[in-house]
Assembly symmetry: C2
């Protein structure tokens, strides 16, 4: 009855887990939500009132598929200021959150059994979105400084993938950031191949140091597609993201976007632009960086203090997640099950591995818990780990 693609899409494991964690007594490190205290409700309320008062009839009417031009110009200007990138508003289309970018890329590029390369571990949302277009996935292992270059070279030569999908800044799930050198190397390896780099940059503004590393687009302008998100710096509930692509790709994306949902929520596009026009966004983002940086460092310190040395964890420089590797042979599903009994939730890492493995990995979110909850939650986790006899 259903299309064959539906059988190939991984069951929504995170969805099921998040249901378990809805109990308010549970301290949840399982999700990936920004802190609600860092959403500027008064500022957004003011912007909404202003848009509806001044331009209500227009803001509530149908609009263009590409999105509100001043908002796209604002995004282009920010790329120039933050990364020195020259991007025209015509190369930018507003999406229904950055997840929709992945669906549009899948639609535009992927025929059944086409090859695509993806980091290992890889972002689950991308695995789900691309799976609906039935590609063959080829994993490229992620080290502390970025993708394994010889594995990437092999995959490119052997499979000539249409896309290589990666998250160079504070990757989900691992928290890893590509080094400046590795960015140049990845671009050099891709240059002249038929492979587009899909640079998912959901966390690019959330680097704790405030120092941005270059986008791959700087080295590969005609071969890079960037996806961006307002969910982490404005508000996820407004579902606003964007995609940046060279014009020949953008023409196809516009057709796919129109067929998918005509255009993104126009009222919220107008509110977002009005908000950014009257807000010191840099100052707001500094507050987010400092809050998340403190939570991240606290969580890492507590893990190193209270967990045995056999448990390793990454040292993220930004983003929202710490990635924990348990000793070989220990199942993170067992840790999840025991942790729920102690009313703390973590996310087993297995679904992020498209070729199996990762049974002993965990993703732990720090952005959505106060420092007090992080202290209490890590203590509970430490008890679970002792009880499981991990040493």
């Amino acid at each position: 009855m259903f299309a064959s693609r539906m059988a190939k899409t991984p069951k929504s494991f995170i969805r099921e887990i998040l249901k378990v964690t809805e109990d308010p007594r549970i301290i949840s490190f399982a999700g990936g939500l920004p802190s609600p205290d860092l959403i500027d409700v008064p500022g957004i309320t003011r912007a909404a009132g202003q848009v509806l008062a001044a331009e209500g009839k227009t803001a509530l009417q149908y609009s263009t598929t590409e999105g509100y031009l001043p908002l796209r110009q604002f995004i282009a200007n920010r790329y120039k200021k933050r990364l020195g990138l020259d991007i025209s508003p015509e190369e930018i289309l507003i999406t229904n959150g950055s997840q929709q970018c992945l669906d549009l890329i899948g639609k535009v590029f992927i025929d059944k059994d086409d090859n695509i390369a993806i980091e290992r571990p890889g972002y689950l949302g991308a695995i789900q979105a691309f799976s609906l277009y039935e590609p063959q996935f080829h994993p490229v292992i992620l080290h502390e400084d970025g993708p394994d270059l010889s594995m990437l070279t092999d995959v490119l030569e052997k499979y000539r993938p249409k896309l290589f999908y990666g998250v160079p800044n504070s990757q989900n799930p691992s928290g890893i950031t590509y080094s400046a050198e590795r960015r140049r190397e990845v671009a050099a390896v891709l240059k002249g191949t038929g492979t587009f780099f899909v640079e998912d940059d959901a966390y690019g503004e959330l680097n704790f140091s405030g120092i941005s590393l270059p986008s791959i687009r700087e080295y590969l302008p005609g071969q890079t597609i960037i996806t961006g998100s307002f969910s982490k710096i404005l508000a996820p509930g407004m579902r606003l993201g964007w995609i940046v692509a060279p014009m020949d790709v953008m023409e196809q994306i516009i057709i796919a976007k129109q067929a998918s949902d005509l255009h993104s929520n126009y009222l919220c596009q107008r509110i977002a632009y009005e908000y950014f026009s009257h807000t010191d966004l840099d100052s707001h983002i500094r507050t987010i960086r400092s809050t998340y940086g403190n939570r991240c460092r606290l969580m890492q310190d507590l893990i190193r203090e209270q967990f045995p040395e056999s448990i390793r964890c990454t040292r993220p420089e930004g983003g929202m997640f710490v990635w924990v590797t348990l000793p070989d042979g220990i199942s993170s599903m067992d840790v999840f099950d025991e942790a729920i009994k102690e009313q703390v939730a973590v996310l087993p890492g297995k679904p992020f591995f498209i070729d199996g493995g990762g049974d002993n990995t965990l993703r732990i979110n720090f952005s959505n818990s106060s420092e007090e909850k992080i202290r209490e939650g890590i203590e509970r986790l430490a008890r679970v780990i002792r009880r499981l006899g991990i040493s």
Copy 2:
């Protein structure tokens, strides 16, 4: 470089035409916009203020894939009240406008070369959305009282299509409404086949008489998928629609929706629910019906008065469009080109015919023009028709 599906998607002809009509001196009957004067800006402003004041942090955070439960309950209650249908909120998912329903249905059902049946002429948005999943389309001719039953029976027997897509109320583009009898007959023909009826009900609330005919779901509950839209009764710019499907289908739609964009704009879902909770929606819809009914009758009267008898036009009982058939051999593209010179725009009907034909048809929108503009626009069109020597 691109997926093969992109080559199969019809060029966005309407998009190109609407660009031509952006000139404010042009009276445009080409688009499909609701009247901006019937968008309740003060009511929506009040609702937005209320939601942001009372629940801002929640309304701006991530939410569930299915959508805001009270809004889904509201939709279910309205089906009960308006059509006597028993639909549970679990059978309803909130989409990014009703166009997204068509994309989700394509994702969940259509494998490459699967057969699907569609009205002739058929809604262009559906043709575009489904084309991305590369089906074989089989047209079923639409008469004044609904689809041709023997053609439908033949298509079902010969091709066993997965879906039959139709718009029983005030179809786009033809304005045709299925008679009560034809609804029962269509359901009877479909019953027991493996074919789902996709009932696009974007205009169900816009019947001028206020008397609703039954949904096909009444006769085929397990075999009908309904798509609905708030664009015509609330505001298109909020991009809110919904899909109703039996639970086994809904489970697949939830997976497809999550992979596509996680969930629909939550802020606007909350604003819509708040708005409906404090608005006399029936009274608002009566105003819309009466305004559109007057515009539609005026347009038909003027067409019959000023156009030669050889030009036929449908008698819509609702919706937003009149459908005009020119004498054989007259090209509506010629009418379009000449009409633009007179600063009036109409939409040639050809793209609505998936198997060719329709060169002598035109779709004319009445919802987005005042009675004054309708008078002036039809006069200009009558001049064009005289100049082209149509008699």
